[in-house]
Assembly symmetry: C2
Homo-oligomer: 307 residues x 2
Amino acid sequence: MSIVVVGTVGYDTIESPAGSRHNVLGGSATYFALGAGFFWPVSLVSVVGRDFSSDHRQWLAERNVDLRNLEVREGPSFRWRVRYEATAARRQTLALEPGVFADYQPRLLPDQCRADHLFLAGLAPAMQASVLSQTHSPRIVAAGTIAHWIVDFRAELLRALADLNLLFLNEEEALLLADDSSLLRAGRALLSRGPQVVVITRGEHGLWQFSPDGVFVAPAWPLEQSVDPTGAGDTFAGAYVGYLVRQGKLAPAICRPAAIYASVLASFAVEAFGCERLLSLTWQEIDQRYRDYLALTDQHRPRWTSP
Amino acid sequence: MSIVVVGTVGYDTIESPAGSRHNVLGGSATYFALGAGFFWPVSLVSVVGRDFSSDHRQWLAERNVDLRNLEVREGPSFRWRVRYEATAARRQTLALEPGVFADYQPRLLPDQCRADHLFLAGLAPAMQASVLSQTHSPRIVAAGTIAHWIVDFRAELLRALADLNLLFLNEEEALLLADDSSLLRAGRALLSRGPQVVVITRGEHGLWQFSPDGVFVAPAWPLEQSVDPTGAGDTFAGAYVGYLVRQGKLAPAICRPAAIYASVLASFAVEAFGCERLLSLTWQEIDQRYRDYLALTDQHRPRWTSP
């Protein structure tokens, strides 16, 4: 069993009501790998520039992340500059400099082509297709997408849903991709396009998961304050896929606890800037919060029945 | 076991993105009584004008609501005119005409003074105190409050929390009353003021319940569209208290299913304008949605434990 992730690795500059950080380790593949790495080793496919720090390479390598296919090229690493507004999850991209990722053509290593679990972390539709064409029928193909691509490539992305087993998006992305104002209709419409499971994350408002098994609705872990939502979605997807691989299957009875573990990981991710909290996180903390989450959402189902 | 509710009964004019209704049956005590009436009889304390329709009186009487103390006075009934914005639960009061409720001094009947469950439905602090002074140590005193009173009487309302067993508010009201930006801190702060349980309803985002038993977090029933949120909070409180009375106690193991039944009732309430849906609602529909809710939120807790 193996997991391959293709996505960005680079540096983020983040402003939020809680403060700011400059050029901290970020990128969709980074967060996915950190989330998944708590459950299963991850093999990463990406590119960085010469400016990518050996410390950061070391951080990832120490956390179950295989970096053989993290290419290093002349030029700057992928950089993103973002500002979060005080209210809710509104964000504004201040700058996006793809650097060496701009003309990157991912080439999977032979063992990566044979991976049985693949995550496409918010790639352009053409890159997504190119990566898929290199693989030998993986058991599970999962992907996230981002508003940036949906705006320009909605039709392609919708067609590409047929290739996916698992789709992860946030509420805004789901409504945009389905072109609907109702999240319930949007989730059902996206599910009908091919994926076995569509997971819609709603930040502090939890998640809605759509599968042939029906809808699963789960609240988020209640936080006093979200410091920085950067990477929460990719961390969520990483933990989710990592949990599935650890369980050895994609089945309804597995997808619900997978979504809860994923929520727990995402709740840690937003507690500090960038991936700071994920880097200090221990399995004991994850396990404790998972148990606390179960207690917090325990419905004490009653013995009393209808009058 | 008995339930007494003191609050408004009157007519609402409602505009929402789904349409509008003029002068439909409304009022906080009306919604509370309709919600509670599915579980237990409710005795109502309020006042209406001569314009109050005998049909509406009949509707309530047929639904487990005792109207002996619904006074009829010369003058117009309480009227509220509200507009809901397209996005989320933002609302704007266009007009509030208290009519005969303006100088109403609730006088409980002798049996109502001895009621063991009392709900104060968004009353002004002075009226709340006056009603409480008439009662003979009820087992459970529950109350809702509204932003209108919090703005002008925050200190009084905070002091009055010591008299309550149960407090129901929505997210906006909780943050306003606690004067905090974090709902988690707000809920804990309000709980520390006296109530045994503080229930914060969050509309489509579910509810947070605070009690010495800890926090309980539950998602809302997912709806394609909310037609009209009017009365959802009072319906919720009614179903909650009705369920408690039916169970005969206020205990942590009862408060969680109470909150779920209450959510289910509120989810019906918002499906149509005013109390239309509550009037057509059957116990079979409530029971089915309750079961569906349990299935929808079933976490499929895994046998797998920590690595």
